[in-house]
């Protein structure tokens, strides 16, 4: 491409008009291949110099040239786009500096222009998709640095006052048979969500391996993400409001079945009655009564456990802004999981929630496992399920 520069210089020295045709002629005479994109860019430059115009809009010919150059030099696709976004923003900001202009708006319009140029991004090959960590509050493009999964460059794609936290990735999901590798990925995912939260306040965390890939269309992948933000803006905004300033806490309550059964034998009228009838029966008959007793105990146990569940759950609800009931795992003989609840709670509520749980934990035969704060994964999954399909 230096050749084009030399050719232009030669034309200038020779006093010939410096234009596309002449440069091409010189290059042909010299037997050098013509880099059309570079030639286009040079033409733009010369035209600008000649007309003396100081227009700041970015010509697509320049963009195309820069993109292909940078890609050939193995500059990462993400960086190329960043550079272009910055260039585009610079060129379109005709408003005086300092005048409030929604950053999201600037980004959106300029990128629209860019993605209109179809061939440009076809060259980017890899990095056609976006791995989304979550959606955060804030309408700016922010560089988080190389903190992503496998040290990818993490940045935000804004729409209005929310932004998606992403890195540029191939379309294949992250998959590995190696547990350690997966663990490192998930940990990185978690750390990015935390970093975004620290910086922007509220983050809707998305689950690991949420990847948005553009369909067969030629739209810029950042634009695809922005379209999604636009499309789901209302529901995303609603979730954002709901989780703002709140964290998720996991609560699991376990009981000792022996303690529950002891309570039933003590309290249940029916059970006591069967026990009395059983006494002094012949072996076969006693066996039948034992079955009857077992059945009665089982149904009383179910009733009692259900009551306890409702009671505990209501108490947790009182100290939470929202709750989601999780699946209970089957317990062993010693302890059985009674309930598994995810609570969304503001910081000021956590203490009272903790006190309530301590009370339950102190009850004989019951124990509570309390964990958190976590990003509110359990409170966003349902609403955002459609993303996964893309």
């Amino acid at each position: 491409m230096e050749n084009i520069f030399y050719a232009a210089l030669a034309l200038h020295v020779a006093g010939k008009p410096v234009n596309k045709e002449n440069i091409r002629a010189v290059l042909k005479a010299a037997g050098t291949p013509v880099n059309e994109a570079a030639l286009d860019a040079m033409t733009v430059l010369v035209e600008a110099l000649e007309t003396g115009s100081n227009k700041k809009s970015l010509d697509t010919r320049v963009i195309r040239f820069l993109t292909s150059e940078l890609v050939h030099r193995n500059v990462e696709a993400g960086q190329v786009e960043d550079l272009l976004t910055q260039l585009a923003r610079y060129s379109s900001s005709t408003a005086p500096v300092g005048e409030a202009m929604p950053a999201a708006l600037v980004g959106a319009t300029s990128l629209n222009e860019l993605s209109g140029d179809e061939e440009m991004f076809a060259e980017l090959g890899d990095g056609r998709s976006r791995y989304i960590y979550g959606v955060a509050a804030g309408g700016e493009t922010i560089e988080f640095g190389r903190i992503g999964i496998e040290d990818n460059q993490v940045y935000s794609i804004p729409y209005k006052d929310i932004c998606a936290i992403v890195h540029s990735c191939p379309s294949e999901p992250y998959q590995s048979r190696d547990g350690e590798v997966v663990k490192a990925w998930v940990k990185a995912h978690q750390q990015v969500v935390e970093a975004a939260k620290e910086r922007l306040g509220a983050v809707i965390p998305l689950s690991f391996d949420t990847i948005v890939r553009p369909g067969s269309g030629t739209a810029h992948p950042d634009q695809v993400v922005r379209d999604w933000l636009k499309e789901d803006y209302d529901s995303l905004f609603a979730i954002m409001e709901r989780i703002q300033g709140r964290d998720e806490y996991g609560v699991q309550v376990f009981y000792d079945p022996k303690v529950i059964d002891a309570r039933i034998f003590e309290q249940s009228e029916l059970v006591r009655q069967i026990q009395q009838e059983m006494a002094n029966k012949s072996p076969g008959m006693a066996y039948m009564y034992r079955q009857k007793l077992e059945k009665a105990v089982r149904s009383e146990r179910e009733k009692l456990v259900d009551q306890l569940f409702q009671d505990f759950y209501a108490r947790m609800k009182r100290h939470s802004d929202d709750t989601v009931i999780g699946k209970t795992r089957k317990g062993g003989k010693e302890t059985v999981m009674l309930l598994n609840v995810y609570c969304l709670a503001a910081e000021e509520k956590v203490e009272s929630l903790g006190e309530e749980l301590e009370e339950i934990d102190n009850m004989e035969g019951f124990s509570v496992r309390f964990s958190g704060p976590w990003p509110p994964y359990s409170f966003v999954a349902k609403t955002l399920a459609p993303v996964k399909g893309k």
């Binding site: 012949s282 076969g284 008959m285 006693a286 066996y287 039948m288 079955q291 009857k292 089957k330 399920a385």
Partner: protein, 109 residues
């Protein structure tokens, strides 16, 4: 990728026996439920109840012995737990058809 499955004869035996005994246990359980129902409805005489109870009791003892002798207590429990999970899942779906519909949709898209 092909996976070579190596079946040890002993494992296979245990698995099959576990399955058979688990099925017998389930049949016994339903028999118990039926016996209890009849007894409570009053359609059985005292002597019939006695005989039924004794038979079921002997079946219980026999099954426990078999399990112990063949060392299949665990594999029987595993089969029953597996069936339990299956039933729980099915009931879950019937109780909450909306979640089921969503799940199916997710899997097919």
């Amino acid at each position: 990728m092909s996976v070579a499955v190596e079946i040890k004869e002993n494992d296979l035996k245990q698995g099959v026996l576990g399955l058979v005994v688990a099925l017998v246990e389930i049949i016994r359980d339903t028999l118990k439920v039926q016996a209890l129902k009849r007894m409570e409805s009053g359609s059985l005489t005292e002597a019939e109840c006695e005989r039924l109870g004794e038979t079921l009791m002997k079946l219980d003892i026999a099954l426990e012995q078999i399990k112990e002798e063949l060392a299949i207590t665990e594999s029987v429990q595993a089969v029953r737990d597996g069936l339990d999970d299956l039933v729980t899942e099915a009931v879950d779906k019937l109780v909450n058809p909306e979640a089921w519909r969503r799940q199916v949709k997710e899997q097919t898209t």
